[in-house]
Amino acid sequence: MDFNDTPEEAAFRSEVRAWLQKTAPAHALAAGQQISDAEQVARGKAWQRAKYDGGYAGITLPRVLGGRGGTIIEAVVFDEEEARYNLPKGPYIGIGLGMALPVIGKHGTEAQISRFVEPTLKGDLTWCQLFSEPAAGSDLAAVRTRAVRDGDDWIINGQKVWSSWAHHSDWGILVVRTDPSVAKHKGLTFFVIDMKTPGIEVRPIRQISGASDFNETFLTDVRIPDSWRIGAVGEGWACCMTVLMGERLNQGEEGKIASLMEYAAETPAGPGTALDQSANRLSLATAYAEEQAQAYLQARLRTMVSRGENPGALAAMMKLSYASRLQKSSAIAMEIRGAGALAVEPAESQTQALWDDYIWSAALRIAGGADEVLRNQIAERVLGMPGEMRADKGVPFSELK
């Protein structure tokens, strides 16, 4: 076991650090700087382009795909160093690199790879995902959006939800039903789709936070060519699995609980501060201990990945643990502050950040695998316990209630 960089890692780190010192400041946002969504996207694309030019776009992507062909530890090192700057990044870039490229790389044709990979790495092409539907949340395979073959084209009708930044993305990755007469996992097919195709309408969803990061996307008689299909007809579920395996390792943000300790220490209580009270010490120490545990679990999983091992459903623990802790610890911090956290003057940004965390934690416990779904995965895939009794197993989709 070794937490220190190997000589190779140390060399890579100083190379990255030097490059960032030279390149990042021009792209970084000032602390607290608010910019429009459109500017955010433009700057995010520019920073991605800078990384591409520096040779740091797609660090773990194979060289044949235009990536760096580096190790996962190198990607971690890069992320650690990049995180020292407040750089513009967003799902429109992350979905491309983390979801679209892996599925295109694995299931796509040569033509698709050469068409999409390089522009995505360069930040020229941004992506959103069109997976969930109103009646297909945790049960992704229940998608109803239909694609019907029409000569060399497909005609798509249906509705997608929870597409992050769909209104600012160039292309989408899309899963639809192409055969309702077979069991639900078997009748799905995967596509990429130009978001400017006629018949696509993106409407923002108003969230409980007040923001609208997510959208509903309505597809009405949308005609797309068969060349946008990824993988075989009926292979959509396998493509989805490729996509979803990707990104669960990076969860949580270190340092959150330490900042809550300071928040408590800034809250007067009796002769001292709220951090002098054993109840507050205990709840914050417990949260801190869990935060540390998750960071070290992440290190274990990264070590596995770096050896080519698949952490499987162990990775589900990352989000399951983080989302609950975020909800609980932000609530506790508000309670430590007490009435003063009910309402604040505009300058009191710490408390407002707690509110944001508390609200966002509610989304986080649902998005990308709800708590209950992740517990099922851990029980079934790590402990090998039996799956749910299912009423829909093997039943043609068209016959399901």
């Binding site: 508000m334 956290a341 003057e345 649902i366």
Partner: protein, 370 residues
């Protein structure tokens, strides 16, 4: 022994509930949020027509002279509906403070207007970081003038009167202040609960009068009674969350079965229902004790508060959770409770205060019994 609401109380509950269901459906709450409204004035007027603001105010001052438990029945209905009315600020806190601590003239002057609902009052105690009830309030009463800053203060945008916790001659005291003076500045704050606006109030040598019976022990008793009403609100809100979660999951199919048929969902809702029913039992006793057995109130109020807040926290969070993604949208109704829960948890002081009050009172009781 008869541990149930009376027929009259059940009728009162039904009437309040139907009124609120008619006047304040969730779509109205959504419209209030959109308008960044101060309050739901229409619903308040309807409550006033039923005479509810005067429920616990003595008949001599224009009220109905009912009990704390009767008031609890109303609070529970308001909590269930997540109503955006100043009942807690004006009636539960301010009017009770005046009835308890005021002079005869102060009572005659203010209580009839509060009972009819024409007047709105608020209760100003918290001082930001310094907490909900600072032992040495920064707001000082000297020579008939009040100076200092209170925040956050609920409903201060619509209130004409404030009962202000302050320091007078080195002691914790309660002052009455007309908010319509130029020596007072009110600034609306950012509130986590979009249906409960809060203000900063700056008193710049504002005219005020002390209430003579407002010493420390009586303020504590006032807050005990307020905690009982907040517990009823929390119980009503928690039940609304459990039922909303139940109804939604019954209608939602997941993997070919109703979502409500999954044990993870059933057990979650069973646990929150149990917590709610336990909390309700404590609220009933505390409501009874507030009027009938004040010696038992400190323990009962703290117990009701601790159980009801835990119940509502679980119910509000898990109701949103069982809704899945839809629960995170503004169009769903989960968020009203997800935010209101925090208001109830953060108003009236931290768990540490109530835990300490409970432990001290239990030990005093058992030492007296021994």
């Amino acid at each position: 022994m008869n541990f149930d609401l009376s027929e009259e109380q059940k009728l009162l509950a039904d009437q309040t509930r139907s009124l609120l269901a008619g006047h304040a459906p969730y779509d109205r709450l959504r419209a209030l949020v959109d308008a960044q409204a101060e309050w739901d004035e229409v619903t308040w007027r309807a409550l006033c027509e039923m005479g509810l603001p005067g429920a616990r105010i003595p008949e001599a001052y224009g009220g109905l002279g009912l009990t704390d438990l009767d008031l609890g029945v109303i609070s529970e209905a308001l909590g269930r509906a997540n109503a955006a009315v100043p009942f807690f600020s004006s009636i539960v806190c301010a009017a009770d403070a005046i009835a308890m601590a005021g002079t005869e003239a102060q009572k005659m002057n203010w209580l009839p207007g509060l009972a009819s609902g024409d007047q709105i009052a608020t209760f100003a105690s918290a001082e930001g970081k310094a907490g909900w009830r600072p032992a040495q309030p920064g707001v000082r009463f000297e020579h008939g003038k009040l100076t200092g800053i209170k925040l956050p203060v609920a409903d201060a945008g619509i209130a004409g009167l404030a009962v202000v916790q302050c320091l007078a001659e080195g002691q914790e005291a309660l002052a009455l202040v007309d908010l319509g003076q130029p020596e007072i500045e009110r600034t609306r704050l950012q509130s986590f609960d979009q249906l409960r606006p809060h203000y900063k109030i700056e008193f710049r040598a504002a005219h005020a009068e002390l209430m003579p019976q407002g010493g420390q022990a009586r303020i504590s008793a006032l807050l005990d009674r307020a905690a009982v009403q907040a517990a009823f609100e929390a119980v009503g809100a928690a039940e609304a969350c459990v039922m909303m979660g139940r109804d939604y999951t019954m209608g939602r199919q997941m993997f070919g079965r109703p979502l409500a048929s999954y044990q993870a969902i059933k057990h979650k809702l069973a646990d929150t229902l149990m917590a709610t029913e336990l909390a309700r039992s404590n609220a009933y006793f505390a409501g009874w004790a507030a009027t009938e057995a004040p010696g038992q109130l400190p323990v009962a109020a703290a117990a009701a508060r601790l159980t009801s807040l835990d119940a509502l926290a679980a119910a509000a969070r898990e109701n949103l959770q069982v809704h899945g993604g839809i629960g995170y949208t503004f169009e769903a109704n989960c968020h009203f409770y997800y935010r209101r829960e925090r208001t109830l948890a953060l108003t009236l002081g931290p768990k540490d205060y109530w835990a300490g009050r409970l432990v001290d009172a239990v030990r005093t009781q058992s030492n007296e019994a021994a």
